[in-house]
Each structure stands twice: as C-alpha cells, then as structure tokens.
C-alpha cells in the first residue's frame, strides 16, 4: 500500500477531495447504468402481467357470453 494509514489514503496529499469526488460521481453514474435497465425490466414485467390478466378477463367474459347465448 503506497499510503501508510487509511487516514492518509483519504487525504491523499491534499488532492484527495478531487480524486474521491470524481470516483464518487463515476460510481453513481455507472451504478445508474446498471440499475436503470433492471427497473425497466421489472416495470415491463408488471405491465405485461397486467395485459395478460386483462386478456384473460375479457376472454372469460366472452366465453360466458357465448354460454348464455347457447343455453337460452
């Protein structure tokens, strides 16, 4: 380890604030690039599930309609 103590690692001879701020910003943006598609995927799954339920609902309604027609 180039630096003797953890405290020196953070301070980095006066330049620590610049280095760690750029590291922080980069990690935030990189994290965003991973999390955004994952939430999009979760969102898409929910939408499609809603669509499927909707379709199933009106299919059922359709069949019930045909049953009444055939009975009466």
């Amino acid at each position: 380890m180039y630096f003797e103590s953890f405290q020196q690692l953070v301070f980095m001879g006066g330049h620590g604030v610049y280095v760690w701020s750029s590291v922080y910003i980069s990690l935030v943006v990189l994290g965003g690039l991973i999390l955004k598609p994952l939430c999009q995927k979760k969102q898409m799954f929910k939408n499609i599930q809603v669509q499927i339920d909707l379709q199933k609902a009106n299919d059922k309604a359709l069949n019930r309609g045909q049953d009444n027609a055939s009975h009466s």
Partner: protein, 254 residues
C-alpha cells in the same frame, strides 16, 4: 386455403428471443468478471500505484478518465456499426443494440468530461480548460445527444431506428475528422498545457492498473448493453407469445 405466406420478417423476429435466452446464461458470469476487474483496477490504481512526479495524487483520476473516454469513443463506433447492420440487413436485434448503446455511450462521455474537469482543477487551476481531449469529448457528447434526440422524434419504431442509424453513420465518418481537427486546432493555439493523458510514457506500476481499468470498463459496457437490450426486447416484443410465457413462468417461479 392455408395462406402459406412466406413472411420474411417472421424468422428475423426469432433472433431477439435467442439473444434474450443467451444473455440469460452469460450475464451472471460476465458481471462477475466486470466486478473483479473494476474493483482490482480501482484499488490498485487509487491505493497502490505511485503518484505522478509533477501532478501528485490527483493523477489517480486517470484511472477513471481515460478508460471512460476510450470506451465512450469505441461505443460510438459500435453504435454506428450496429445501425449500419440494421440498415443493410434489416435486422431488428441490431437496431435494439444500437438504441441501447446510445445512453450508455452518453453516460460514459459524461463521466469522462466530469472527471476531466475535476482533474483540471489541481493541474491547471481551472475547472474547464479547452484541452484537445476534453473538447473532442464534449463534441462526442453532443453527437450522442443528437442521436438520442432524433431517435425520439419519430413515433414509428422502424423509421426512428433508420433515422438514428443514418445519423450515427454520418457521425462515425466525422468523429476522426473532429478529433484530428481539434488536435490541429490545439497546436495552433499551443498554450503551455501538459498533455493530460501521456499513457505510454508512464511507469509500468502506473500503467498496469490503467489496462485493468480499461478492460473493466469494456466488460461494464457489455453488461450494461445486455441489460438495456433485454429491457428493449421486452418493450418491443411484449405482444409476442414467448414474452407472455416468460412473464407468467417467471411470476410462478418467484
């Protein structure tokens, strides 16, 4: 009479499904590789590598600035080539790859710009210096924003992809011209600024973490691209049966 319609576009629809299943298996391993590369590169560069003689420790920002700008530029070429493949062979999957590559490239260019600006403060005393590298990065960001903005102006999917592909191809021809002319412009107004990224002349101990970080960023690009493209496939194929099965199967399993 069964319409034996030879739907040329049917079999092409299959490839997004193949991509979805393939990435389902590769993603865990690839993200593992990405994580190890990034962590080792960062720790090695920030904690173990010796500081630069002139710039001191602020030099360590190179381990973020240089990989981000390299992958951002390579990402633009990847996007343009994916667009070209889409245009020539009308493959939907390559359009989706192109569409997903744009935001990642723009984000990486943004990282390169921010880290470059922060790095400029201790080295030249000002946050923004019209250094050749940073100016070209700024223009690249505008190119990315142009492609993304154009992508959203068309409502019809097919046309939006084609327009974005054409623009990224026009951009691809211009990127080397822009880089060379900005470099030439830099020499014309040569102020006494040291070259920000003297990569090869560096000490091997400094250079090795840089290579690891570049590989880390490339694998990050791949992981993020796969994730974005998978979300794009779900959005475009939500009416197809295989996606519906996928959703129902997935919910039952969870």
């Amino acid at each position: 009479m069964k319409l034996n319609v030879q739907w040329t576009w049917f079999h092409r629809l299959g490839s997004p499904r193949w991509f979805y299943q393939k990435t389902q298996r590769w993603l865990p391993w690839l993200s593992l590789v990405m994580l190890t590369l990034m962590v080792t590169g960062l720790v090695w560069g920030l904690a173990f590598a010796p500081p630069d003689a002139k710039q001191g420790n602020s030099f360590r920002i190179i381990y973020l600035h240089v990989p981000a700008s390299i992958v951002a530029l390579a990402g633009y070429y990847f996007m343009a080539i994916a667009g070209a493949i889409g245009l020539i062979w009308r493959i939907k999957l390559s359009y989706m790859l192109m569409r997903s590559a744009a935001p990642i490239g723009a984000a990486l260019t943004f990282i390169a710009l921010v880290t470059g600006a922060i790095w400029g403060k201790p080295t030249w005393g000002a946050y923004w210096v019209w250094d050749a590298r940073i100016t070209s990065m700024l223009i690249l960001l505008f190119l990315y924003l142009g492609v993304m903005a154009l992508r959203n102006t068309y409502s019809n999917n097919e046309v939006a992809d084609k327009a974005a592909a054409i623009l990224s191809l026009v951009g691809m021809v211009n990127v080397p011209i822009i880089y060379k002319s900005v470099d030439w412009w830099q020499t014309l107004h040569q102020s006494a600024t040291i070259k920000l990224t003297g990569a090869p002349s560096m000490h091997p101990d400094m250079f090795m973490p840089l290579v690891v970080m570049i590989l880390g960023f490339y694998s990050f690009y791949a992981v993020s691209l796969f994730l974005f493209t998978r979300a794009e496939i779900l959005r475009r194929e939500c009416r197809t049966s295989w996606v519906k099965q996928l959703v129902t199967h997935n919910l039952v399993e969870k």
